[in-house]
Symmetry: C4
Subunit: 226 residues, 4 copies
Amino acid sequence: MRSRQALASEFIGTAMLLATVVGSGIMGERLAGGNVAVALLANTLATGAALIALIATFGPRSGAHFNPLVTLIEVAFKRLGWATACAYLVAQVLGAIAGVMAAHTMFELPLLMQSTHVRTGPHQWWSEAVASFGLLTVILNVAKTRPDFVPVAVGSYITAAYWFTASTSFANPAVTIARSLTDTFSGIQPADVPGFLLAQFAGAALAFALFTWLETDHSKQHENHV
Amino acid sequence: MRSRQALASEFIGTAMLLATVVGSGIMGERLAGGNVAVALLANTLATGAALIALIATFGPRSGAHFNPLVTLIEVAFKRLGWATACAYLVAQVLGAIAGVMAAHTMFELPLLMQSTHVRTGPHQWWSEAVASFGLLTVILNVAKTRPDFVPVAVGSYITAAYWFTASTSFANPAVTIARSLTDTFSGIQPADVPGFLLAQFAGAALAFALFTWLETDHSKQHENHV
Amino acid sequence: MRSRQALASEFIGTAMLLATVVGSGIMGERLAGGNVAVALLANTLATGAALIALIATFGPRSGAHFNPLVTLIEVAFKRLGWATACAYLVAQVLGAIAGVMAAHTMFELPLLMQSTHVRTGPHQWWSEAVASFGLLTVILNVAKTRPDFVPVAVGSYITAAYWFTASTSFANPAVTIARSLTDTFSGIQPADVPGFLLAQFAGAALAFALFTWLETDHSKQHENHV
Amino acid sequence: MRSRQALASEFIGTAMLLATVVGSGIMGERLAGGNVAVALLANTLATGAALIALIATFGPRSGAHFNPLVTLIEVAFKRLGWATACAYLVAQVLGAIAGVMAAHTMFELPLLMQSTHVRTGPHQWWSEAVASFGLLTVILNVAKTRPDFVPVAVGSYITAAYWFTASTSFANPAVTIARSLTDTFSGIQPADVPGFLLAQFAGAALAFALFTWLETDHSKQHENHV
């Protein structure tokens, strides 16, 4: 069932997501006259809204993962084979990089750059772990009980997470890698990428464990007490 | 039916709500360059969006109260026993405090602080009473006629209430207690907590009375006139 | 079927709407440091969000008109009798004034004031006519084809209309009367109220005519050509 | 089935869309005190919200195209005849111009002006191609799998696209032509219109090709492998 169409959907969807993240960051910073909060408000509004539109658009074709954490958890639940998952991961990373290139072209910048934006240290890693834990917890639970609401739930969650984490919530390894290739508002210097990825995987693993516990234990209790 | 899973959901949901309220307040204030309106816009956007995502996520597991006022009204309607309710209240308060600690850690602050933010006086108490009355009126009515819309209705209501009340609408005793433990944008000094709690209980009691009257009387009229 | 509960719902809903409009205007202006656009953004966000929550809350009880234009059009369609309609209008105007008083009390202002905010002239009247025409067109069409979407459609429409009209879109006679009683951001001086009301009725009448034509003619064409 | 009612709906809907785009641009610029980001935030919020309300309002009557790109793709899919399509295009362009006139009248400006806002060059054209490709991809896919979500998906997409493209995402030939007639925030000088139109058609053609491939190929693969 997973097909070239699904891979194309992951590629295009992730590309449009990154074009939004990077492009709206550049636009926000250029227009905000030095007020970083206003720039981040624009960046937030654009990213949250884009997620609503893109997940609704590509959800029926590929699941609209756009995020290796989601794909790997689908593998862990045995809802996706490793072969398909690897193809998804490649499509996501290449799509993310293509999205950065698309944004740079719109704003008259080099196709790719090397970011010099420092984002490191335990506080940033903790932020990414919390952000990723929250994102996956939202996705796993809402996808199970109310799949039609996933676009709005994810868009809303990321809108919040841009502001409540010190890292502005990357929460996505493909996004993180691609954002190391832009030296603009939303960039992260390449040296800081591994720390972010590790924190993201840790947060996602915790969300996986929580969801499994919430699901498993509940049925036991159902047998014992009802 | 109420289970360890429900309590965990209340704990985690309230923790993420407080991480959002406190974290986005810190981020907003740090970035806004002294424009308090811009900081509060960021705080508002994040909190409203988080409520949409979190209520959709944990609603099917615990009812997604995240608020002692909601739990106590469920008891008043005899839809929740006292034992479960007490466990809910503990989970909410502990979760709220954990959320403040999570936010402080992200922003390199002490785990807990004592707030020095003065919020007191009849105008503030009236604000909290109105805010709590409105919140519970929205929840009780929408939960009855259109439960799927509760996440959006509550997120929208709080978005409005952050701006139309002079207190920025705490409207939640667990949130109020936890916010006394942060000396940042969203804090409230401990001495001012009891006044807020009393006002919140009064507002919730009024919402309970209104809803009961709206429900009871209507059926009588139905018998008499139709 | 229309009952004391419906009237109470109109009263409370309109009161909360006005508390939002006036309260968030005061809060926005106080915090925005002189940037009127930021104050109006806060006012807009709060009002649009409040409409989503309040219409969802009171829609099943009273239709959630909160607006004499809506009530009068229901009379024109013979879906509401004159007696009920008059009671609705009284509840809306009294509720609106109560909402202004609630907001003033929150922000430590006199219970009622006389506005000195000049809003007059053909450009303002044209703005109100367009705003009211649009509002009623949205309500009539969406209520017919997709009633569950009315809260979001109306909240979204008013969010837009605050910005695309020169009058910030009152589009509601009860709101207009009540806003003459606050000398704050959202006020309108009493002398300018009649012009606004006339323009609003004209816009609503046009929306009524358009909707009637859209409905009637279509069925004729259906008979002739299909 | 396409009728005078549908044409009136396209005319009025496109007029209200343009009144929103142009009017909120003027209001944003006048109030923002020189902060272009704040002005564009207001413009974005208004436009995205208007699209949600207007598509929900007129969708059942005309399909709520408001955009020649959408109409032409309906022709390409043979869901609309050329005669109706031409009438739609005329209604959209005239409606768009009427909307600009309505906005100018609200803000005490001449009925129509000639824009002097330069928007040209390969980066702008690339922006418009990306914006139009994205818009049509969202519309085609969401309209197929989840038509009720189209208003929210389109409103969200345009909210994002105002910020992630360097051109602020016109993505609509009728809108582009009409915006050449306003010398305000949202204008485009007439000489730059043809470049925008060509880029928009190219982006829409690509979206059409992608959607066709996504649809066609998938069924083939279904026959071969499942």
